[in-house]
Symmetry: D4
Subunit: 206 residues, 8 copies
């Protein structure tokens, strides 16, 4: 039950040999495949076996598109607070793309400059699901959830230092959101958020 994917492979710590074995086992799958947190040279390894593998550099993901996704579905918006949060945001966006979504990307619109966020209010309010990626103090999902009515999936990132505690600070911020409609995934887990938001958008459209 991979829910639309043949497999989602987590690359860190996997040897080239392990990756090759995994790639070989997927040679003839009819479902899409994602490799997350893949280093460039791990892409080479996978590509040598799966010739239709594509490397999404910013997201550090390898994708194998085997299933013709019917039509690209709108309604998903991926927002990032800072520019350091973009890799995590891309992980979410790419994941949803392989599910058949066409996410809008609104990057670097954190709460230190509210006007940048308010400039996109219409896009935000017409979304069916929002992935909100933020490090530092992680207040973005709360502020967003106060402005929209669709589900907001918060993704805390490990961007920051000191009392950021490698992402624990924005994680706690998001869990304590006083605005309703926010739920949270693990620190830096763009994949989980993208999958979940994609799922909600697809359900809400069909």
């Amino acid at each position: 039950l991979r829910k639309g994917f043949a497999e989602i492979v987590y690359c860190p710590g996997k040897s080239d040999e392990q990756l090759e074995n995994i790639a070989r086992a997927l040679a003839n799958t009819k479902e899409n495949v994602l490799f997350s947190r893949a280093a460039p040279h791990q892409y080479e390894v996978v590509l040598s076996i799966l010739h239709d593998a594509y490397y999404h550099e910013k997201a550090k993901m390898i994708g194998i598109k085997r299933r013709e996704t019917q039509t690209t579905v709108t309604g998903l918006t991926v927002v990032s607070a800072g520019s350091s949060d973009i890799p995590v945001a891309e992980e979410a966006a790419v994941t949803a793309e392989y599910m058949g979504c066409a996410p809008k990307r609104l990057y670097d619109i954190g709460i230190a400059g509210l006007h940048r966020l308010l400039a996109h209010i219409e896009t935000l309010q017409s979304s069916l699901a929002i992935v909100a990626v933020a490090g530092m103090e992680g207040a973005l999902p709360s502020v967003l959830a106060g402005l929209v009515s669709c589900p907001v999936i918060g993704v805390p990132t490990s961007t920051g230092y000191g009392a950021n505690l490698s992402g624990v600070a924005p994680l706690l911020t998001m869990l304590n959101s006083c605005a309703t409609g926010v739920s949270v995934v693990n620190i830096d887990n763009g994949l989980g958020a993208g999958y979940l938001a994609g799922r909600i958008v697809l359900q809400s459209t069909n």
Copy 2:
């Protein structure tokens, strides 16, 4: 922008006087209202002003139903692991009811006895959203997400002792879920989970 509610009032720490003022201000609202974590005597206070107030005992919630919700929508399932987790599960279920949902309740089917959970597999697999409430080690949402394809909202509870750390242990468990499709809300936050799951179900049905 209360998203279907005129107000959701958090009762702990509020004086009778404060509650009276809030209740008076809501006298003529045309939207539904919820008071969460309300002690029985706080219900008396609210009832003396809002005569259509109803007390949901297990959920410790006061509800004022003003908006005729069109038709009761199915697709939401609220699951609890242990019997101590029921108050939090009820908070989720009642919240969704005031949004127009008719949640199914599956209580006390935690993972220590998998057969009890597997007995409900069809209900679970046909859900549009699941709220999974669990204390102790909090493994229920992960196990569920491995069995279904709809979104699973995990609610860790403070049920447990020692290394449970007042709910931090199941919170971490749920955040680290290795199954895709799980997102998490604050410890004991049935309200937030119920609202979010209700939102997803309504979106997916309309």
Copy 3:
């Protein structure tokens, strides 16, 4: 060097006898005195000795005004996110009042409803110092500091539950603020924030 106060007495844990001794020692002081976190009956004890003692109920503070503060100085704004944060906000406001300030109070304008906050933008932008009191996720000081140019003193409160960790969550949020101009005091420490903000306003006006 009590900096304008003869003494600031922290009441919790002090016996009636200890309070009486402290009060007697202050009988003839020419400086103002504050007793913080004073229970109603502790006020009785102090009043029986210092007949000019006044009880600020919401702030739970006893004040003795001995020094004729020259003129009430404007420029300090005390903001609270929720209604449960008011006691801490009042502690800040009352402290500054005894230093000669006339703080503006803007309560219950947290970020879940940005419009309530933006309605006061002129007051906020013309302040010389802002005390921003917030529990739950504690995002208020960050949002404010993005809108104003004066110093913002953040006071995290212990309002919340679960992953709020008795105020540690909003404390971390404020420390990680990505907007410049925010500094932080201890959880629930309205007194420290009020003193500091009062100090800045007085310096900036003289």
Copy 4:
């Protein structure tokens, strides 16, 4: 009292010189010896002195088999949730082998796919002791203990990221297991689990 081993040497941080001295001191022992967490080049060092040293690559262990273990004893099962947990699982399995056990290995059968686990139900239910190795959310030992009646030794691993907190999350999960029959060892401590489970199996068979 090394309980069947002449010595179990922990290699990290030991200089080549220290290892040589330890190896020399063990030259004539009649008991088995294990070196744990040994880097490949540390094996060279030990091998240059103890010519019967064998390197268990996956377990990163060096073994010296001096005592003829009577007969290989069955009843121990070593289970791993993911493929990243295999090194720790191997540490457990190899340790038990040097005690005279013949462990069954069931790897990569974590709870995200219950069917893979349930496929081995007979092996599991006929075990005398199970070592259950899991990172991420660490729910495997709980689920297993709900299915079997023998002791389950949980080994949390540091596999994961973010709120995994380097293995603290699965450690807490296992400590809070609501199924009886689970006990826990330190994060990544395959050796301790393998020793303990081996001990239980040997006791239960003799």
Copy 5:
């Protein structure tokens, strides 16, 4: 699969009504039943329905003995470090008694006075399993495991103050034991330790 018990009921937080329902459902069971952490008045409630209920005061447990346990099995030793740890030690001992064991109790023999511990060295070294209950610094299981060869189940208790952190300190101590043969259960979880040790002893004797 309750493994010898019809049910093990955790009493804290259960209403009288809930307990009555549980008791009624167990009226005709042929297996033993335990209620843990039962307040004296909860015993009254259970006794009013199950007339063969017995209250183990020190262990705060209610027991219903329905299955004639064949013969009392020796080999289990329950050790406590201090006298404040006795309730947890009793919980372990009583649990094992209902499984058919006859545990030896060695209480108040912590490491501050090694001679008291060494006085029992023969009992300890001939055990098949030891439950070692300790609060404060929790060093007892480590010291014991250095002296015996059977499995030692460590139970940290919340006895202590300050840096004891409600039992987290002895929990960490036990998890880091440098002696092999120690595994750990949750803080104050005498029940889990007693069950596990009983299981090991029964397996090792049959």
Copy 6:
């Protein structure tokens, strides 16, 4: 609203390409610009585009001075406890310089030798704001605040080891200061403290 700066750029994790883009966008700004935590080679990158960029080595900051700051304002004192805290102290001092301040620097005058601190008592007592930078136990801001009446901004640093917990220990120390007049910024956040203190000094002088 960058409050006197066109931009303050946080360099860690930014690629050369990202820095080039940022630099290009700032080519014609009329406001000052700061790049914080810039590695030497990142300075090269910026310099190649902004030819008036200057590298403040000790502070690891790149500065672009575009706005003729009217006159250098006195009243700010930057104090460091140890010599390892100097980089953070310099970050504060340089930030304030770009705002128009002329900070006094008093370095290596921590509390282990009170005489060194007391030797500067006059400078300290005539300051309008003090930035106090300290690692290890972080007691400097408390001691200072007991001696002066102006605001003290504490900056905990990650200097130390073990129970220092990467700066969490001095952070807690400063938050708990029993002297009034102390507020705190994030660990190693010289920039935030310098900005805030500069702001206070400028306000207090105009």
Copy 7:
């Protein structure tokens, strides 16, 4: 080996019956006895059996003086930062008194007012051991150790709130002391500090 005491009894959690048994067992001892953290009514219980029991109210200790301590030894100074720290300071002082010491008490001389501390510099510099008791930020031992050459035993107290974390903040402060000559005992452990300092003074005088 109670080192000068027949027994030191920790009273919290002990039933009257347990205390009576302990008291009876000590009836004829020739060594001194201390009961720490004794509630007033626990004194009654002990007194009914040991008629020479004395209650040290501020220290919450019961003392039985059986051994004629040769002569009262000077050289120990017990210092407290605030008035809330006095009970812990008294626990230290009384413990040392029963060992034959005549401690000097310097209370309420914390670092917020350095002059109060410096007024006692001669007493401090001629001490053979100092017990320094402090809550809040706990900087007192560090400041003292910078002024004297004898050993300083730091005792963090749980006085404070919020980020004080029940004494963890001053504990960390003391452990990170950058002045040599400081060691630390558990939060609120006046007894341990008094014993240790008494031991050092006695050794240094004999």
Copy 8:
């Protein structure tokens, strides 16, 4: 007031230039000097300026002996639990040597093998101060303090993994010691322990 040392320099993070400046300033001191945690090449730097500098390799300390310490004083024993703890133990021993002590070293006698510790009981019981260095679970100081009557200074080390939490586990263990006579210094702080123990021994001998 360096108390017998002209200076004790902490080397990590110091540039060669900084070390050279420090060394030059110490050229003509008549007191001893220590440089702690010095890398080999930092020794070269210091040696090039101070030609009587000596490198204590195991302790990673550079020593400059300028003061003829009268006579070497016995009574100090430095104990280590494991062989990985030796560098910290050496830091303590060398520090005391420069104060005029002749410490006995008892290494690798941790509690996993009590006999090794008991073999040295006479040396231990005749000591005037003991430094007890231990990582892993850190139980050594407690066990020692139960056997001797002199002060025991516990030094937790960062030796270990997982739930060792970089030395926090043994730190907590030592702080919670239920044996009287133990005090604690920071993780890996051999220098602080050696200085303190040396101080006690010197005081007790003069």
